[in-house]
Symmetry: C2
Subunit: 340 residues, 2 copies
């Protein structure tokens, strides 16, 4: 059930349901018509951005549980977010009363949660699990960069933190796309210290995990209909393809990046979207629908990428350690034999 850094899920836990909520800017793009609750107002009627973020988080979790139509409350809640002390996840855990395992790998939290959820279900430690994360542009900006009121000019290499949350309910059975295997990432740091250049910082971690996954499973990139990175953006996406190309791996035919696709072309977001909510919203709405549809996209490798950026360590002269976790999600009954 384990080769190198890759684990296999014998019982094929299913993503029984997902739910998402996102801000108006996000819903102007491709995900707009797939999101359960497109917001008109990114404060979600709350008086602070942190409360708005938390309300989105809770909405996504509760809606996904409702859609999954479970016989009993989920056995475990695996979640984290970008705010210090993962407060959006913690307050959602408080509101739902679910057994809670807090996790944090920045914007790779969505795939970390699915990966851990897959192991907990497959190992028999839970019958059902909820995996969730989210982010909010305005709460992230003021925590990681500058107060919005300062009106700083954004540099061209910057990305826009997604305002949104996504949640997936994992369950046994035959309903929904299955988790078949996953690869645990390791921290890679090429020395990028520009807090506005997350894509470049994270690309080496994504390349490392994708390469490790392909080696461990003996698969060619073409095995997947889609190798979906989390939030590398335009520049980071080019870098991950170049880095893999140098190692003799060509993912250009089937790679897409949630950060690159989330915003509409006419939105001037430089390199695209970022944040834990980026892969959470794109995967749990648009991509999940494609998988359920089952016509074109049947095998997805979700590789959410995280920049483990701390303002304190950056201020102390440190570069940004990055990580990416991969999880394979497959629709239909024809799984690769190695994972059976």
């Amino acid at each position: 059930m384990q080769t190198g850094n890759t684990v296999y899920f014998r019982t094929k836990p299913r993503i029984a349901a997902t739910a998402t909520v996102a801000g108006p800017k996000e819903c102007a793009g491709v995900v707009g018509k797939y999101v359960d609750l497109p917001l008109d107002d990114d404060t979600f009627g709350e008086d602070t951005f942190e409360r708005a973020e938390r309300k989105m988080f809770l909405y996504a979790v509760q809606k996904s549980i409702e859609k999954a139509n479970l016989a009993a409350p989920p056995d475990v809640f695996l979640a984290g977010d970008l705010l210090n002390q993962i407060i959006s996840a913690s307050f959602t855990a408080r509101a739902t009363g679910l057994p809670f395992l807090g996790i944090y790998n920045a914007c790779s939290t969505m795939s970390e949660a699915l990966l851990l959820g897959g192991m907990l279900l497959d190992g028999g430690y839970a019958q059902t699990a909820v995996a969730a994360t989210g982010s909010h542009f305005s709460s992230a900006e003021r925590q990681y960069r500058y107060p919005l009121e300062l009106g700083n000019t954004r540099p061209p290499q910057s990305q826009w933190t997604v305002t949104g949350a996504g949640s997936a309910v994992l369950a046994r059975g035959e309903e929904g796309p299955a988790l078949t295997c996953g690869t645990v990432g390791r921290v890679i740091d090429y020395g990028v210290s520009d807090v506005n250049n997350m894509g470049a910082a994270m690309a080496p971690a994504a390349a490392d995990t994708i390469r490790k996954h392909l080696i461990d499973t003996g698969r060619d990139p073409s095995y997947y209909d889609l190798i979906l990175t989390g939030d590398l953006g335009v520049l980071g996406s080019r870098l991950v393809k170049d880095l893999l190309w140098e190692k003799g791996i060509d993912i250009s035919a089937n790679h897409a990046d949630c950060g690159e696709i989330i915003y509409a072309d006419n939105e001037d977001e430089f390199q695209g979207g970022s944040g834990a909510g980026c892969s959470a919203v794109v995967f749990n709405s648009y991509i999940y629908d494609l998988l359920r549809g089952g016509s074109k996209v049947n095998k997805v490798l979700l590789v959410a990428t995280g920049a483990l950026l701390s303002t304190v360590s950056s201020g102390q002269g440190e570069s940004i350690p990055c990580i990416a976790h991969a999880v394979a999600i497959e629709q239909g009954r024809t799984f690769d034999r190695e994972t059976n």
Copy 2:
């Protein structure tokens, strides 16, 4: 392998080795003679407290791996800490190059890491794992409360964040105390909002998890030689016993708290120790040695307790959500039949 919120480890993963490092104040107490590296200087020769914390973290992890004498590097590193973005754990992951799953449940991170590690080994997703956490008084004070330079008077209900780190290596085989089962906690919040009164905030979460664990397993508190809470301190320890007493459960005969026992009697630390490093240091040094000795203490329920405190949410008028995870560690070959 699961009853209620409690999971059972069929294969009994072992704690093959542990390692700890702690500051001079901590080593003046009972743990002093069990800690691998007692520090003379809490800066550990570094120029910032954050770097000192990180250096302790890396020391504990590397030393535990060395002591475990593994044939290959550990399969996975499960860790988190109190600093924003769990930077001490992230930088340790970078330095070691191990596959990394970042976790965060504040001061309950030690038992969360052991619980997840137990599931990963027992489920066959890893052969070996490292579970670690730590904290530093001075980095925690300036992040969560006030800069030390301000010289604030500490109120009598306060605790002292432990300067130290602890790491445990989990492996298969027959060597070392075994993880037999564990209970995933849920967030409990009785409305305490005083950031200097962590013990009172966390006691209800500890009581909830201990009660759930005893119900799920059908055990009496006397099953355990020691029910060891993480960092409730003197006041919190009294509260957890009272709260359980009200539910008809008497743990007074075999309860101890890491925060209550870590400092020497003549150290004026009010309610005692706290911080993720508190249970990490006490469990992985003194208690682990007692278990290995095997004469008096053979069955320990470690219930590390976490206050998911955020300065932002506290500033926005929120109370402190708290959590506790329980993990049963048993020495010898005579495990309870229910866990076999």
